[in-house]
Point group: C2
Chain length 139, copies 2
Amino acid sequence: MKLDKRLEDDCHLLGHTEVGLLLLHRNASLPWFILVPDTAETCLYRLGDSERLAAQAVWNRLAQWVHARFDSERVNMAAIGNVVAQLHLHAIGRRQDDPLWPSVAWGQLLPDATWHQDELERLRSELVGASLLVQSAPL
Amino acid sequence: MKLDKRLEDDCHLLGHTEVGLLLLHRNASLPWFILVPDTAETCLYRLGDSERLAAQAVWNRLAQWVHARFDSERVNMAAIGNVVAQLHLHAIGRRQDDPLWPSVAWGQLLPDATWHQDELERLRSELVGASLLVQSAPL
């Protein structure tokens, strides 16, 4: 599947889920995951039922995993698409001690922070272990 | 069910859906609908499967309806809850000519605009017709 240039620039590719690609925002200030279902449809609510339910099931398991993995107080889940049309589903772990709380993350300036290569590898490995990734991105 | 004070203050009550209350943000700059499932759980991804699927089905039909009714280009769907803990699901119709495009609506200042009583009544009636409301709020 073809990934939107903006998503490709802004995110690390973690690998393939059952329904499409899993990305991680390059800014490590927040655990900001983005699921990109493999579809040409741009609106979640216009997917056919089986495609939508499959995407929501993975999105939901992703949010549960983010909550536990990052000791999040909330996971913000959203399908927005005002800037990037390609369908993509956010799952962003939030805590009261994060740099943006309680603001939403979209459109805000985040403090500089990067994921280290070993952190990315550990996340990929854990996501495979949690059956969220069916195929990890190449090293 | 008991509605959070902040939601009650910020929104008109439109009525009851199959899964909980349907609200409309008092600011009429955007068609900003909020579905409040009848549950004590605060995170969408922690609902039991049947409750979650039922809530997502109504949310999805709501987004389809908003898209068609307001000739929206996108409907922004989100479960955030950083400010109001009670589970609530946004469905916000967005257009390139709306006052906030392409910014997200949360945390932004909206231009003053109010829904008139007759518009609220028409929306309630249409939502009943679309089987989204099972019971309209009292006049």
